[in-house]
């Protein structure tokens, strides 16, 4: 079945450093949708980025990701981390009317 693998556990960064959260996937669908969601404490997840176009960079709120079907990847990046970026990040794959989520990566940005 479909699956999503993302950077495990906790990623700690100092403010100002670049962010890179990895996401790879497996799917039977040739045109999957890939998403990044951000979830702050006690809140519902909020859509950060989405893409279904191969090799096209998508950007939002300083974050960017490019779907690479050749490597089945959709890594999340940001050039400079901010304190407010501290949150839980989920990579997710949509195919066949349902979404499969990765296990989540907690990003902690410190001063």
């Amino acid at each position: 079945g479909d699956s999503v693998t993302q950077t495990e556990g906790l990623v700690t960064l100092t403010e100002g450093l670049p962010v890179m959260l990895n996401c790879t996937y497996q799917t039977i669908y040739s045109n999957p949708f890939l998403f990044w969601y951000v979830q702050h404490l006690n809140e519902s997840p909020r859509l950060l980025l989405k893409s279904f176009t191969d090799n096209k960079r998508t950007e939002h709120q300083g974050f960017h990701a490019t779907l690479h079907k050749s490597s089945s990847s959709f890594h999340l990046q940001k050039s400079s981390a901010q304190l407010s970026d501290s949150a839980l990040y989920y990579c997710a794959l949509a195919g066949g009317y349902k979404v499969v989520f990765g296990s989540g990566t907690r990003l902690l940005v410190s001063p």
């Binding site: 998403f35 989920y90 349902k98 990765g102």
Partner: protein, 115 residues
Amino acid sequence: GALVYQYPRRTICKSGTSMRMECQAVGFQATSVAWYRQSPQKTFELIALSTVNSAIKYEQNFTQEKFPISHPNLSFSSMTVLNAYLEDRGLYLCGAWDRENSDYTFGSGTRLLVI
């Protein structure tokens, strides 16, 4: 644009009682609605996928007897958590595929606390 309204946002129920949550799709036809659960400190698990005029498909570890779902039309779906216990607490999300706009939209979530 496509929106999914989910309610209630937060609910508390006594152990052994049941609670129902609802999702309303606005601006698109929700042919298929999926329900997910995020237990504390965990990721989102698919509970079931419901398609209008088709049988509801439950994932392993989730059953219709515990999580009955109703999906009577292209804009509404509800799910009930029967006999809720501590292990049922968490955030429940509904999500639907907007075929016309090639987009997937989630509801705002229902946070269930069992006491």
